[in-house]
Symmetry: C2
Subunit: 135 residues, 2 copies
DNA sequence: AGATAATGATACCATATTAGTATCATTTGT
DNA sequence: ACAAATGATACTAATATGGTATCATTATCT
């Protein structure tokens, strides 16, 4: 089971690279060369990031992408939400009718608690944090 | 994303029901009637639990299943491992070559920390715990 | 103006995982 | 012998994941 899927992972890497290229416009060719991510897949990912307001894009020759906000305002959790939807570890329980009995409620409570923990931990991870050299 | 898949969930419910039916052999018909789980799917699940040593099974007329150990020795984490494999939240990172750079390592460390937490939380959840009436 | 090089939009495809079904063999109590 | 239970195993359906492919649009450069 993956907490972070491939597209989220690629998005994080691409955003970090773009973040490091301050005040420059970065295009897909440069990104694929550096990150070894399949070009058409990366294009789709960047377009999604653009639609969701994390990137500005520029069309035409010499076009490309740049961050739409500062790296300390871009969080991994947000990226995961874009590509993986809202974080819900207890999906299989919610789809069902209300808990038929006590045991399921107790299990659901555990999972809810875990989910809150994951949320808290990931909420604070920004691009800046990921790029810092030392802990 | 589901932390607990459908088969694990069904397995937990079935085991709880069997646990409540102390010193009795419970058959599939009774379980499907009570738990509303598709019969052939439940059969497969019970067979898996038997192979993994959580249930004893009895063939032939008047056959069925009973717990192979006490409910306080059967843990949700074990059940998840049987149906979902070892808990590894960081799969997508491990499949890749060693972290290409610092940022990925920091993200992996976060995910590792989360995974340890999930492990600790689920490790202690037994059938007995789930069946207790009050917290 | 036209060629070129970039992204935008969208539809399609491949693979893996999840969630089951179906069937026949074997065992056991009556 | 028969009926009622599980064992073993192969198959199928639905969904999620990880991509490709193609054409439209826009901007720059000559």
């Amino acid at each position: 089971m993956k907490l972070i899927t491939r597209d989220s992972d690629y998005a994080i890497r691409a955003l970090c690279f773009i973040a490091k290229s301050k005040n420059r416009i970065v295009n897909v060719s440069e990104l694929t060369a550096q990150l070894k991510i399949p070009r058409p897949f990366l294009r789709k990912i960047l377009q999604t990031l653009n639609k969701n307001g994390l990137l500005y894009s520029y069309k035409g020759k010499a076009g490309g992408f740049e961050l739409a906000m500062r790296p300390n305002k871009i969080f991994v959790l947000k990226i995961m939400q874009i590509f993986q939807g809202e974080l819900k570890l207890n999906e299989c329980f919610l789809k069902k009718a209300p808990c038929p009995n006590v045991k399921r409620c107790k299990l659901k409570k555990k999972v809810d608690k875990i989910q809150e923990y994951v949320f808290r931990e990931l909420k604070v991870v920004s691009l800046s944090y990921l790029m810092k050299k030392r802990a």
